[in-house]
């Protein structure tokens, strides 16, 4: 999966903002966006959560969820062996059923990228073509508390090692202090660092860490800011802060993506990450995507689940639909 060009992104931002992306221009723009009513947003999300997805729709949804998962391991204890195990699971989620789709990507720390690329071998590639991408978290993940130079080096190294997607974190401190220009510039610079020698670019996911932004108004502004700065995806969370992804937050981000598409014709992806463990919950997200931005968005380059334990629950549900009875945790593999 490849990212859009930085030049196009910048031109688009200038056209939308009507000026240079400094603190003042961005501040005026972001604070001019209509507010969010928390009660109404949560009510709408809860309403979408009551959709009843049964039989053929459920079967379709379970396969779709698997094909949209970024299978993730982000631990201090990660080793090449752990990453190889994760990759094997990504390529063959259910050994008992070869018709099970592959996941979209594996998501690892930057230094684990070479092992992931190596383990994937011929399966490494664009998930839109049925292959598996390698995503790397970068920019002093998860806190983002580091100098820009280090963040850029972190990014460039992962891209050079073969990462197709970079999951960066925004500087929440700068955002909350109103230094929107700084956040914008950092995202632009990281996007520039995503460029490969051949001129193509790794896709950039911008993590807002919504659990630290706290208010829905902040989430909406940070979403616009990240999209303006050139993010190909906006992602809820690192998974290291609670609350991580929630349905209302994801709905809100999807609404921004929808409005951006209406305004510019350009499509941006959304990735809820962290906290989605059950198939039932994941199906609610699919419903929310389909009813907010449309079914077109349910493809790997426009929607992902950042998750680890979700996959096995989906596999159990899938086995139940095929065989008619529930198995148990020993009938799906650990990675």
């Amino acid at each position: 999966m490849s990212g859009t060009s930085l030049v196009t992104a910048r031109e688009r931002a200038l056209a939308v903002l009507g000026g240079e992306p400094d603190d003042q221009t961005l501040g005026r723009y972001l604070h001019g966006i209509p507010g969010v009513d928390a009660v109404g947003l949560e009510q709408r999300a809860a309403g979408l959560g009551t959709r009843s997805i049964k039989t053929s729709s459920k079967k379709w949804a379970l396969d779709k969820i698997i094909s949209l998962v970024d299978l993730t391991t982000l631990e201090g204890a990660d080793t090449p062996g752990k990453v190889r195990s994760l990759v094997a699971k990504a390529m063959n989620p259910d050994p008992a059923d070869p018709s099970t789709p592959r996941v979209a990507a594996v998501c690892v720390y930057g230094d684990m990228v070479p092992f992931a690329v190596d383990a994937l071998g011929g399966a490494h590639g664009d998930p839109d073509d049925g292959l598996i991408s390698v995503a790397a978290v970068a920019t002093a993940f998860p806190s983002g508390r580091s100098s820009l130079e280090i963040k850029l080096a972190d990014t460039a190294e992962a891209v050079a090692a073969g990462a197709d997607e970079i999951d960066m974190v925004i500087d929440r401190g700068a955002f909350l202090a109103g230094r929107y220009g700084q956040v914008f510039d950092q995202i632009s610079a990281v996007k520039d660092a995503c460029r490969r020698a051949d001129g193509t670019s790794a896709s950039l996911k911008v993590i807002l860490e919504t659990g630290e932004l706290v208010t829905y108004d902040n989430v909406r502004r940070a979403s616009w800011l990240s999209i303006l700065a050139g993010g190909d995806f906006i992602k809820t969370s690192t998974g290291k802060v609670s609350p991580a992804a929630t349905l209302p937050v994801t709905l809100l981000m999807l609404e921004v993506v929808r409005d951006w598409h209406l305004a510019t014709g350009h499509k941006v992806g959304v990735k809820p990450a962290g906290g989605i463990r059950a198939s039932k919950d994941a199906i609610k997200y699919l419903v929310t995507v389909a009813e907010t931005v449309g079914e077109d968005w349910l493809v790997p380059h426009l929607f992902r689940f950042g998750a680890s334990s979700l996959l096995n629950d989906v596999l159990l549900q899938r086995q139940k639909m095929t065989t008619g009875h529930y198995s148990g945790p020993d009938y799906v593999t650990i990675d």
Partner: protein, 537 residues
Amino acid sequence: MSFLEYAPAPESRAILSLRDQYGLFIDGEFVEGRGTPFQTISPASEERIAMIANANAADVDDAVAAARRAYDRTWSKMSGRDRGKYLFRIARLVQERARELAVAESLDNGKPIKESRDVDVPLVAAWFFYYAGWADKLDHAGLGAGPRAHGVAAQVIPWNFPLLMLSWKIAPALAAGNTVVLKPAETTSLTALIFAEILQQADLPPGVVNIITGAGDTGANLVAHDDVDKVAFTGSTAVGRAIAKQIAGTDKKATLELGGKAANIVFDDAPIDQAIEGIVNGIFFNQGHVCCAGSRLLVQENIHDEVVERLKLRLSTLRLGDPLDKNTDIGAINSREQLERIRELSDIGVAEGADRWSVPCEIPENGFWYAPTIFTNVQTSSRIAREEIFGPVLSVLTFRTPAEAIAKANNTPYGLSAGIWTDKGSRILAVADKLRAGVIWANTFNRFDPSSPFGGYKESGYGREGGRHGLAAYLTPAPVGQAAVTAGRTGAKSVSAGRAAAKPATAGRRAAKPRIETKDAAKTTRSATPAKKGAAK
């Protein structure tokens, strides 16, 4: 197949055990009506559900007589705490049989199961729980110590929220100590009759609640009955007006909850996505069969086009169809008659020059259906901006300033509800202060709670339902002097006790008499209650 064409997810009808014929519920028993029975149908398929008895004048006499007997002999003498026990029991039984009630309601009324399941039935239970708590606290209802019930309440309810309107009527009436004769709407009697079974299950003393079915003449007979002390009606303004005339000059007390043409005002700084949801919920909830529906959208002119465009996008995701499917958003119109009225008024809208847009959706072959519709380019003088359509039809008008929004919102013979959408708290307060409507929602719409009074201005009726005010509508202050006895008995060392004592002459013979009887009756009921508890499954 597209994912958005969700596979059918029908709620099972197996939970229902309907009878083929339903009688009238009088004096704790189902009895045959003496009028010509009529059938109740499912508006979604026009299939026959059951035959419903029709109460003639003699049946009305019987029902009122049963209510009077129950009032005189049992209910007026029972302690508030014991009345509360019955109400709590009814509330719990409603919860236990929630799914059954929801399925029956959707089947008979045509509303989507997700609304009957998530809104109507939970609110019904909430209403009984809420007023159950009031039953022994009537001294605090705002009428001074020792307020008294009116006696027999005649209650006539509409077809849009059959069971919910029943609870709005019965719960406060019983808590206050009245007995009840209730007539559900002709097209939606089913859940009231299932509710009668719940009353039997709860072992409510016979005659305390009587449910008689029939058409308009049954209701008219009931309201006109000489032995009725209180009339509570929810329905159209035309019928409400007739009732007001009918009971004028009598001692009957009345609360009327009638029509509406609510303004939903959207300012340009509104939280736009939530406002769109609120507009949709305001007018398309329950197919627009809501007296407080936000049927007039007043949108600030500078965001008119954006709002209409977003609204159309959102409406395109609404799912119209089988009310029993859990994914249905828009159910069936309740009756052919109502469908005709919606069509007629919509055609008038087009003839008057407004632009009609309807959701392009498939309409089922049988049953009564109307696709969600928006009219733009509507003027304040248009009939679709003046008259209550009572269907899924929204009229969009514009305004320029808050003052103009207020003026347009108030420029209606009705005044039941209104909505305000803005991010500015001070504007909410300033505008709400000037709107002449009984209920005003800010950044939300169509939210109900038993503790919140509901009712209208002008032609939307009088009196309030819900909350302490809704309770007070079923009470009358104690005759001067009697308060003293009550206050003394309950141990409240209140000023009223002293004041009453200073006027012994006015205490009268009625003051002390019921007190003794009440105590006795309370005792008997208390001992009877636990013994029969096993019957209430």
